[in-house]
Subunit: 350 residues, 2 copies
Amino acid sequence: MTTGQHAHSQEVVIAIDAMGGDHGPHVTVPAAVRILKENPNLNIILVGLTASVEAELKALHITPHPRLRVQHASEVVLMDESPQSAMKNKKDSSMRVAINMVKTGEAQACVSAGNTGALMATARFVLKTLPGIDRPAIASTLPSEKGSTFMLDLGANADCTPEHLYQFAIMGAMVVSCISNKPNPTVGLLNIGSEDIKGNEVAKQAAELLRGSHLNFYGNVEGDDIFKGTTDVVVCDGFVGNVALKTTEGLAHMMGKFLTQEFKRNWLTKLMALGAFPVLKAFKKRLDPRRYNGASFLGLRGIVVKSHGGADSIGFYHAIHVAMEEAQSGVLKRIQAQLEIEHLTSSEQS
Amino acid sequence: MTTGQHAHSQEVVIAIDAMGGDHGPHVTVPAAVRILKENPNLNIILVGLTASVEAELKALHITPHPRLRVQHASEVVLMDESPQSAMKNKKDSSMRVAINMVKTGEAQACVSAGNTGALMATARFVLKTLPGIDRPAIASTLPSEKGSTFMLDLGANADCTPEHLYQFAIMGAMVVSCISNKPNPTVGLLNIGSEDIKGNEVAKQAAELLRGSHLNFYGNVEGDDIFKGTTDVVVCDGFVGNVALKTTEGLAHMMGKFLTQEFKRNWLTKLMALGAFPVLKAFKKRLDPRRYNGASFLGLRGIVVKSHGGADSIGFYHAIHVAMEEAQSGVLKRIQAQLEIEHLTSSEQS
């Protein structure tokens, strides 16, 4: 239990919205228990309906644990509830109470599989944005041929100015520099490479800002560079990022379906599938989306991580892991320091 | 040679830029010969340096053919040449001469694997846009779980107005209605589905225009719907479309690489690969990008199809096939008729 801890591993507290997601405590509690056992410097607060959470703990045979406590919250934000309704009518929701704990400093991060719109609206309202950041962005790690690519914005901001993209680049680079072993990660600006037209106006101006920044700006990258791993960070507006992400989900699904169909075509191909099963399993594991679960809401005065709503306990475990790494490695301070270096925290910028 | 002809199969002439692409006549000529043999109503004009083209024909043992002729053009547009340079300095290029033949009516369509920027600029300059169309778009068929999806714009226009997207929708729907067995194809507008934010301003206004149109507008679709096949046509601006397309190319490449790596891990997995080879081959064939080669430049007063520059003769064959289908099925007239139905051809719209 004490092996494999990183040098920067320090005592942190994470508040978990135990009720969020399609499966609630049935998924969030086992994930919390697992990561708690693996990390002796981690403390967890499970926020939600005490009865539901404790029933789940009991089912897992968890006796009182010194680094785990349950915080009661009487309400639950529904997966299809509007952000407005959640904000106005659910002030004692598990989601809101978990975010409040980050605000008061009781926790250094919170994790929720609850609905994205409500989580973003509540987090923004409660925590506010960092000085120098106009809008929070959604960021996530994606697999690449070279390891991984950190990409943002994945859907928080459909319309972005060049300044927003510049701010996203700073946040993305600082997260990667804190969490990976890359002190000066490369940043690519997502663009199109048609010979005639080099991208839209916003991208052109954002490239200018990035060239003048202190970041390790690589230049423009194209869609295929995300998975090639050309740069450590890929920056784009939330419209393009969301479309790119969902498109890849669609393609991966189609490819998986076609592969299954080919193997199920007749008894001979089924026999081949049996033979190839261990390899296909290893391949599938390598691209398992659960390993990449956990999107960071960056730009807030606190760490908020969103799990996929349909995640199972393995997926949710990875989302908590993202929050833990960000809290332990001091991502927030690093972003703030870089915003100062870039002279973005002066009053005229806010 | 006379089997399998469609009812709408009529006599057409296609001008081929024989010099375009990474491989020139070595690829374009065999592709032309193959499609010519398969389609008795097709006539082909190979445009380029006569010596090069005839040498290739000779190598293929092609004797004079009543439906094939070579048209000399003394210049070649280079793959990295700027559109400005191609337009100004290469007035007798194979690309330009092939487009001119569409302009004069000698050919009903042209196909080129030459550089995209030069081809688009030249085609636009020579042919002009259709009345009611502000800007041409690049469109292509992509595979989907239900068969195929026709998507545009894939990169011609980085910044689009709602009116542009509306025009793209008309063109895409008419191509699908002409070429497939879908008289009233569904049209989806590519958007993002975050609970809080329903897309950018342009997409919102485009949706309004499409709801008021005579098209079979499905509504918004997301990135994963492209490969799910939710709608027959997916419309987006060229920035988003290009990123989505290249992202899928990147993902497919990465998945292929990882799969190969897993099968090559050790002698046992290599043995499994041997067993699974026929299935993997069938799978690969199903998603073979060569089968989807051939992007249409829509919105011009003539049919222009762009082949991937690196295409081999099978890929280039498919690009010619796209041009042939569009010419035979009367796509241009159909688009013009629909523009009139949508009241987009009146003078105030141009």
